[in-house]
Assembly symmetry: C2
Homo-oligomer: 301 residues x 2
């Protein structure tokens, strides 16, 4: 049996899977202060009476050989050697990987990438991240930090990104970027239904999609701008990787056509260098389960 | 014995190599109208009295399984199935690959990438191109067009690129882009020695380097702008691939510190996501022989 753990900034989900990757049992807890202890306890409960071969963890940050060196949403794990810490509490065969890389593995094993040898997975959500599948395997780079597509610079004098650079893809095309654009629009006094649709006065990406469903022109325009920047990000991936396909997941992409139509319309404006001059864009097959399935996929035979 | 052929827009160089990759004999001709016949004749001459195992060709364009689908500098080969055409004239075991990919193989086998498993090669010359070495092998993508780094968009409203997109890396950081910037400066009437240094009234990248050697402030500023855009291109490669190193070749890079110092200075301004927050930048080891050595490297055991 195998265990997968999806560690997030707000919750931790762990699941027990058989060697076919079927999830037999799962459990979710809120992320607390003592994350390592929480992880070990979850794993111990799921392991009860089972022979556990391997344990996969998908984590929201950057790890190298189990050593965390950047995890902005779970700062209490910064600098921790998670691999050693877990092995002290519950010795086992752990594989620890960035969550977007794990989600790419989930798509390869369970999702839209089944049977495909070379594809790029992009998650467009609060942030933007990705995973690279080359020759049927995860390519994580020399230090495990390949696929940080959200921090590819698309507009050198663009908005300041959380990372310190300006005009990163994440600062232009993410759900957070969309929310910032809508706030600026409302502030500028433009006539739009966006303000009245805001829940608890919070203008979010969901507000924009809700207004777009009602035909609000400002919302439709903002989704087009979002699609424009995401199209540039994808065009760059095509000319860099020449993949068989690009698979898109993450919260913002779950808005279906409201997200994908402006993206695909804009993507057609750019020259792509593969022989077809176009690229297969697929919606992620694992949806909101990508995290857990990815963690399991990291360790399946 | 092996044969490598470096096909360029102005000349063709072919060489005979032993299985250690040593070039034993080479020959160069000007590229004419009947390129396929020229290639076959060169190969035939070099093969005389030898047992040829494999023949590698590096070509300035995009090929898939020997079929040329884009070769702007040798338009007479556009649409030609070079593999079939060569096999008709001189049957052999041919490997045909994009020249920047071949140069990346040359760096792996003979140059700055020896012993390295994961690196990115970038050529910065008239245009900008690249090759991707992953796990000690060339990664050419699903159709052989991976590594078109010159057409990654860095500035969506930037200068029009030959490919039709705007603000491609090539349109900002190549030798051609530098020559265009200097022409605009001179036209604007800025006090600079650039105009008098121009040979036959041609303002080129070399003119800029020549003026920089004499301390011309405009030339130094232009090299800094060039370094800025090339630094963005490289930062994006680091955050995309997390390579062990980036190797830089191509004509513009042969200007040594005049090229590399502004590049490295600018690169330090960007956040890189690997644990070291820096990247090893190496100068190509194969220099102007990269083409021929790369063609041989494509087929060596």
């Amino acid at each position: 049996m195998y265990i997968g753990v999806d560690l997030g900034g707000t919750k931790i989900t762990a699941g027990l899977a058989d060697k076919a990757g079927q999830i037999l049992q799962k459990e979710t807890v809120r992320t607390g202060q003592n994350v390592t202890e929480q992880l070990a306890e979850l794993i111990q409960r799921l392991s009860a009476g089972q022979h556990i071969t391997k344990i996969g963890l998908g984590v929201p940050g950057q790890v190298k050989d189990g050593q965390v060196f950047s995890m902005p949403n779970i700062p209490q794990l910064g600098g921790v050697n998670l691999w050693s810490a877990l092995n002290k509490l519950y010795p086992a065969d752990y594989t620890i990987e960035n969550d977007a890389n794990a989600a790419a593995m989930a798509e390869l094993r369970y999702g839209a990438g089944r049977g495909c040898r070379n594809f790029i997975y992009v998650t467009i959500s609060t942030g933007i991240g990705g995973g690279i599948i080359i020759d049927g395997k995860l390519y994580a780079g020399a230090n495990g930090t390949a696929g940080e597509f959200g921090h590819v610079i698309l507009l050198p004098d663009g908005p300041l990104c959380g990372c310190g650079n300006k005009g990163c893809w994440e600062s232009l095309g993410s759900g957070t970027a969309l929310a910032k654009m809508v706030a600026a629009k409302v502030e500028s006094g433009e006539a739009t239904r966006l303000k009245e649709l805001a829940k608890a006065d919070q203008l979010t990406a969901e507000t924009v999609v809700e207004a777009a469903k009602q035909g609000d022109p400002t919302a439709l325009e903002l989704l087009d701008v979002n699609g424009y920047y995401n199209a540039i990000g994808l065009a760059n991936l095509v000319n860099t990787f020449d993949p068989e396909m690009i698979i898109i997941g993450g919260g913002l992409s779950f808005n279906g056509d409201y997200f994908f139509q402006p993206l695909l319309k804009n993507l057609r404006m750019f020259r792509l260098f593969n022989p077809e001059h176009s690229i297969k864009i697929l919606r992620a097959g694992c949806g909101r389960d990508a995290g857990l399935l990815g963690a399991v996929a990291l360790v399946l035979p």
